[in-house]
Every structure is written in C-alpha cells, then in structure tokens.
Symmetry: C3
Subunit: 347 residues, 3 copies
C-alpha cells in the first residue's frame, strides 16, 4: 500500500517480459517512472492512447513509447518502442504491475490498536489497520486489507483480496465481494430514506435489508450505498463507482456498470448491465434501465429506458447574457408554439 522510498530499477526487458508486446529497441534501457508523453523525460515510459495525439511522438523525450501497430513506423523514427494491439489496455496493466513492484505490501495481522469483537473471523493473511472496529461475526477473508479507522458492523463480510482504504463504514450484515476496492469515507449500509407520511410528519420505516456487493467492484471516496428497506440493495460484479455517489435503498445494478462522480441513483431503480452515467447524472427511483444504457453527464432520468443507447438532457451553457435571453424565452415556449400554430392556420 505504501510507496517505497527507493523503487527498484525497471528495464524495458522486464516490462515486455511481464506484459508482452513487441519491444523494438534496447531491452536494457532503464525506466524510473511512467509518464504522459507531454511531460515524459528520458527515464520515462509513455503511451500513445489514440492516433489523434500522434504529433506528440515527434516532440516527446520519453525513453520509450507504447503504440498500436498503425503507429509503428512513426514511433520507431524517434526511438525505443513497444508495439501492442491496445496501448491503453497495456498501459492499464503496466500501472498495476508497476504499483505491485513499487508499493510495499501491507503486513498481515491485526493492528494492536484495533478493537475486534468476539466471534469475528479474520484470515491470518488479512490486514486490519489502526483504530479499526470489527464487530461480532464479521468475516475478513484471505488477503483482504482494511485501512485505519474502519467500522465493520456486526456480521459484515469482506471478500478475499479486497482492500478498504482508511475511514470506511461497512454496515451490519453488508457484504463486499472479492478483489474490491473501497475508498476513504465510503458508507455502505446506512439506512435507506424511507418514511410514511402521517398527519404532516414523517414516520420512520426501519431499513431491515442489507447491501450485497459483487466481485471486482470499486467504490469511490465518500460514496454512499444504502441498505435495502426489506430486501437487499444489490450491486453486480465489476461495477465502478466514482466519488460522492448516492445509491438509494433497494437499487439493483447489473454487472460492469460505471458511474462518474456525484451521480445519484434513487431508491428501487433497477439498472441493467454495462450501463454508464456521466458526472452529476441523476437516475430517479422506481424505474428500469435495460442493459447498455448510457446517460450523459448531468442528465436526469425520469422514466424507464427500455432501449440501449445514449440519453441526454442538459441545458447548454452560454455566456450569461445569451443564456438569460434564451431562458426567459423558454418560459414562454408553450405560448410561442401556440402563436406559431395560429400563424400556420392563417397562412
């Protein structure tokens, strides 16, 4: 989890040995960091994500560049090159390989400052950080890492190799699958927002369900996933949540969705597989999105979407004076339509 003060040297031969790709150039070249092409220096390994940035090849001083086959000749003209079918994917794997080499492994065991209630089962290979509270009946599986100040509620369950950053709350009976990542401040299993109106007041509906999260899920900082009212809130495998996202009670999200920062998903929404939503989008409750629905940033989904595709609804920004004129007119839009109709009848 922690960067070593003096990371070991990496040669290009090590990179292709681990990750494949065709290396054209000196395999002994030493790399000391990964960098974007525009800021790469002679010790850096960079990648060309897209042909539209090809002009960077001419100017970068990177020690080596990862490119797609179509860029091969252009890249070779400047120096050492790794050719691979999907440079972005190669880069993703390179970052993981790099991080595994450069970050010190978390030491297994329970920090002496942690409080562990009787009946918790912590795998000997797991790591429990300082000031963690581990409730009765909690299960922490092999290789899991729990950062400092976690609250693991009674009967909660953390799958193998899952990593919680510092200051995470996992509520009673909530489950996180394997190989997950949960960032600081995330709250899994707070009460859903449920009240019965009665004589002008709100009577609480206790939230008796829990949260069940699949494998390979990432949950961003300060993101909240509420427990279900009666049944559980369910998150599929491979789902990725950015920071400050709200997921209401009883929501069901299919596998491999991805949600950018500040998204809100209201209670009982049912979202298919492979859906995405841009930053600040809101998906209202009690509706359904089929698989492969993509919601543009800041768009509000107010009814079910039964056909895959991209959906949008945001007010185009403008300089303030232009916006004011158009916005004022917008408030008369319906009457403009009536006037247009009247003209059409006359003409």
């Amino acid at each position: 989890m922690m960067p070593s003060a003096t990371p070991p040297a990496v040669r290009l031969a090590d990179v292709v040995g681990a990750l494949g790709g065709e290396l054209i150039g000196d395999p002994g070249i030493v790399i000391s960091r990964l960098a974007p092409l525009e800021s790469a220096d002679a010790q850096a390994l960079g990648f060309l994500a897209h042909p539209r940035y090809a002009s960077q090849l001419a100017t970068t001083t990177a020690a080596c560049v990862i490119v797609a086959p179509a860029m091969r000749e252009l890249a070779l003209a400047r120096g050492a090159t790794i050719v691979t079918d999907d440079p972005y994917l190669y880069h993703a794997r390179l970052t993981r390989w790099w991080a595994a080499r450069h970050r010190a492994a978390a030491a297994a065991g329970v920090h002496p400052s942690a409080v562990v209630e009787p009946g918790a089962q912590i795998d000997p290979s797991a790591c429990i950080g300082a000031f963690c509270y581990v409730g009765a009946g909690v299960v922490v599986s092999a290789g899991a890492i729990v950062g400092s100040h976690a609250h693991l509620g009674e009967g909660s369950h953390i799958g193998a190799q899952t990593r919680l950053a510092a200051r995470v709350t996992l509520g009673d009976r909530c489950i996180v699958g394997q190989r997950g990542i949960v960032h600081s401040g995330a709250v899994i299993g707070a009460d859903g927002f449920g009240f019965a109106p009665h004589q002008g007041q709100w009577e609480k509906i206790e939230q008796l369900g829990a949260v069940r999260i699949g494998d390979d899920v990432e949950i961003g900082a300060n993101t909240c996933i509420d427990r279900g009212a009666l049944d559980d809130t369910v998150i599929g495998d491979g789902v990725k949540f950015d920071n400050l996202i709200q997921v209401g009670h009883n929501v069901r999200i299919g596998d491999h969705c991805a949600f950018a920062g500040c998204v809100g998903i209201a209670g009982s929404a049912k979202i298919g597989k492979h859906c995405t939503a841009g930053g600040g989008a809101i998906i209202l409750g009690h509706l359904e999105l089929v698989d492969h629905v993509h919601v543009t940033a800041a768009t509000v989904i107010t009814r079910s979407i039964l056909k895959p595709g991209q959906y949008s609804g945001l007010f185009p920004f403008d300089d303030n004076a232009s916006w004011e004129k158009n916005a004022a007119t917008l408030r008369q839009l319906h009457s403009l339509r009536e006037r247009l109709r009247a003209l059409e009848k006359k003409s």
Copy 2:
C-alpha cells in the same frame, strides 16, 4: 443496534397485539421476516401499499398481507389478512417494532478505547462506542447511542434517545435534539463558506455561530450542515435529510421538511415548514420558501417562492440525437421568438 443471530419467532397475534389492526386468519401463524409481496415467502408478512398493486395479491405467497379496508375481500380470498386504515403507516410502525425486537440493545457505558475529556457529562444510560472522542463540556443525554469513531466537539450536546452511527462529526457547541438519527460520515458544524474578497484574494470570515437541530431529525450519510457565520444554523423538528446533502451557514429549515439525496441548500436560505425537495435539487442562498413548497428533483430554485405548490425546472432527457438538435435550437430561442414576432406583424 445489532441483529441477533437467531431472532425470536413472531406470531401474527403478537403483531396485532402490539400494533392493532383487524387480523382475519390464524393468530398462531409464525412470521420470520417482513418482505415485499413480490418476494414474500410463506414465512413472510407483506403489505399492499396502494390499490394499483392489487394484482400482487393474486400471486404472492406471503403468510399474511396488510391491506386497507377496500382491499379486504380481495385479500381474504388468498389467506390471512390484517386490515388497517393506512397499510403503509402500519408497515412503518411494524418495521420499528420488528427492529426493536430483533436488534440487540447497545450496552450502556463508555467503551474503554474512547477518549473523554474532563467535564463531559455522559448519562449512565448512554452508550459511547469505540474510538470516540468526547470533548470538554459535551453533554450526552439518557439513552443516546454514539457509534464508533465519533468526534464530539467541545460543548456539543446530544439529546435523549438520539443515535449517532459510526464516524460522525459534531462540531463545537452544536446541538442535536432528542430521538434523532445521524448516519455515518455526517458532518455537523463545519465552517460555513464565508470569505471577503480583497485584492483578488479571499479573506476568511471565521464562522462563530453553531448548529441547532431539533427533535426527531434524521441526517443521512456524509451529509453536511455548516455552522452559522454569526448566528446559528437552525433545523426544525422532524426534518429528514437523505445522504450527501449540503446545508450552508445560517440556513433555517422549518419543521417536518424532507430532502432527498444530493440536495444543496445554500447559505442563509430560509425554508418553511413541510417543504420537500427531490434528489439533486438546489436551493440558492439568501431567499425564502414559504411552508408547503415542494421542489422537484434536480430543480434549481433561484429566487424566493411565496406561494405553496410544486415547482420544477429540469431539462427533459431524450435520446442523444434528439437532445442535441433541441439543445442547439435552444441556444437560438430568443431569435426564434423575434422571427415569430416579425412574421406576426407581416401576417
């Protein structure tokens, strides 16, 4: 606070004995969970929230269903039934009764790992969890429960029977009333956002007020309520906040309002009683909403509202191509109006 591993059996007779309603059917039927009608099994007690879901009565396998008088005959045709005037309200009370029976009571007392400064007054019946910091002069009243990792700032005050989940911050001198619930990650009493501009820079205005929260208030996970600049930020009785809500300094909110997730309320807004706002709505500052104003999700309130009612302002979403065409035209709306006027003059 914690579910018992083997919850005690509940008979229908116990339910109506505690909560009233007319039971038609065998009072000895044993219930082991509450469930939605669509997933209820033969050990489950369900409820019919609204006549439009009446078709579920024909298919549910629930042990018993709670219905309104109008649904009585339909419900009886399928088996055991509890008839009550407001099934949703009955359900709300049932969940609370159920939770009280099934959750182990938090043990009174201060966890040995907690730090309590001199001069704090903690009622012997209150519960202070692991790793709590309790500042000087704090008052924790009878029956209050403070979850793990709380920070209770100097001179703050928690009313009787109020429950703080894990990882809550209550700032210096801030007050939460009785029977409140505060979820994990909530921050009550951070500084309001106040700066005086000076020569292109921002000079901090220290926030000298506090936050005063009434009775029966619920505050969602990672929600923030800022302290006042000079006077206090004031939240009335019975107000319900969902997760990830921002309440600025000097805001005043009347009794029994409810705000869904991701709402933002800017500084010095004054909101009446019985108001609501849907998810992602924004209420700007230095304005006033009278009682019984309801703001639709994702709507931005930019000026005072002096008449009760429902207010909306969100861009209707569409497939991306349609949205693009309409959004582009929207940027010319004012000139369209001018062209329409010109035509009207000619015709």
Copy 3:
C-alpha cells in the same frame, strides 16, 4: 480550537487598536459578541455590508456599527460607529481577531492515543489529536493542528500553521501547503477514476500520481480531491472549496479560485486563476478555463472557455404545470424551428 467558557471582555478601543478604523463614540463600550444588525443587542458589534441595507441602521440596537464613509452621518445619528473603507473586509478580519481571542489554543504535542509510525517528523509545536494515524515519513510542520481520527498516509506533508479538522484523510505522498484549513471528512488523494475498457469490463489503471495543494487553501467537509493518474493533481494558492466537492484526477486549478458546495470538476480539467463556480456546477474533463471565468450555479461546462466572463446554463424553474407545458414543447423545439422556417419562406 475550543471556545472558552467565559470569553474575556472586549472594548471598542481594543477593536480599533487591533484592526484600525475610525471610532466615533465611547472607546470603553464593552462588546460581548459579533452579530448581524437585525439580531444585534446592546452588547453586540455589527456591520453594514452594503448601502442597500442602510435602513437597518435606524432599527438596530447594536452597541456599535461598522460602516463605510458614505454611511457615516446616518450611522452617527444612532450611536457608536467605526468608519472604515471596506466594512465587509473589516468584519472578516474582526471575526479572525475575535476567534483568536476567544478560542483556546490547541495544546502542542501528540495525543497519547495516536499511532505514529517510525520516521514521521512532527514539529514540537504541532498538535496531533486523538486516534490519529501518522504514517512513515509524514511531515507535520510547525504550528499545524491535526484533528482527531486523521489518517495521514505515508510520506504525506502538512505545511506550517495548517489545520485539519477531525476525520480527514490525506493520502500517501500528498501535500497540503501552509495556513490551510481542511474540514471533516475531506479525502485528499483517493484514487482517480481510471479504467481501460476491455471485453465489456473495466481494467483498473493504478493511480500513481499524488495531490499537491498550495498555501492558504480551504477544503470543505466531505470534499474529495483525487490523486493524479501519472502526474499530480495540483491546486494553486488561496483556492477555497466548499463542502461535498469532487475534484478528479490530474485537475489543475489556478490560484485564488473559489467553488461553492456540490461542485464537480472532472478529470484533467485545467482551470485558470480567479475562477469561481456556484453550487452544483459541473465542469467536465479534458477542457480548459482561462483566468477569471465565473460559472453560474448548477451550470454544466462541456467545452473549453477561452474568454473571461460569466457563463450560465440552467433551466429556469416554474410552477410545475407551466414547466410541464414548456418542457414538453422543448422536446419539439427543433421541429418548431423548421415550421417557422417554412412559414418564413411562404410569407
């Protein structure tokens, strides 16, 4: 950090002695609080922020009022007055002077409950609160105050006089400059949201950069600033963030910007100096804003802005019935334009 139970008396002479301004009236008048004019009592010192509130001078019972030279005569007619060129700025400085007098200084030293890893450097004048975790290689500079339950990741750095409220996360290798303020629940240095799509799934891109924050920066409660993917996320000097703000990876923000609550700034956005954004505004990623760009609340910036000014794009709210009619028509706006064109051709 903590208010004293019996704050010392302040005379008007003390105020002008410390902060300047022309006092007209009895320098011996004792002030026991600062207050808005509308709620000020005879022990309160208030200020007139703007001539449009001049009528408050006639009704306030404040012991003394701070006014601009233009208001001098009007103010003198009611009693003791401090005349200064910029009353709002004077008030800002007064609140800071007041807070310094009335809040007990945090005691230097490391709370015995804190965990400090070997190799951390904590200045003897700094204060580390209860239950803090201080990683290896952390530097906490002179006069810095770290509130309870902080997580300071390995190699992170806190500048002189900077104050972290309770429950802050500062990730590995992240840097906060001098005289900063970070509020509760803020997360600096969580992973940026980066994944390579591959066969319908998301492959994580490890985030190898960090966060570098300048001097005099304030970061609100539960705000998140992600670490960079390769290079660092960089925040300039004097930037002010309100609560619940999301700042994505690789973002660069120039000096003296200010962002209101619930703003979202997506990855790789580059924002100039002296920019502002109102509450709930969203700035999408991979774009650039020049200096002195001001974004209206709830506006979504979808492309670069190369000219200073105010930019807006929000749907004007209306009563629900009017909104519904206009919103429905908006979905036909493009075809309305076509019909208008057809009419124009005919006429």
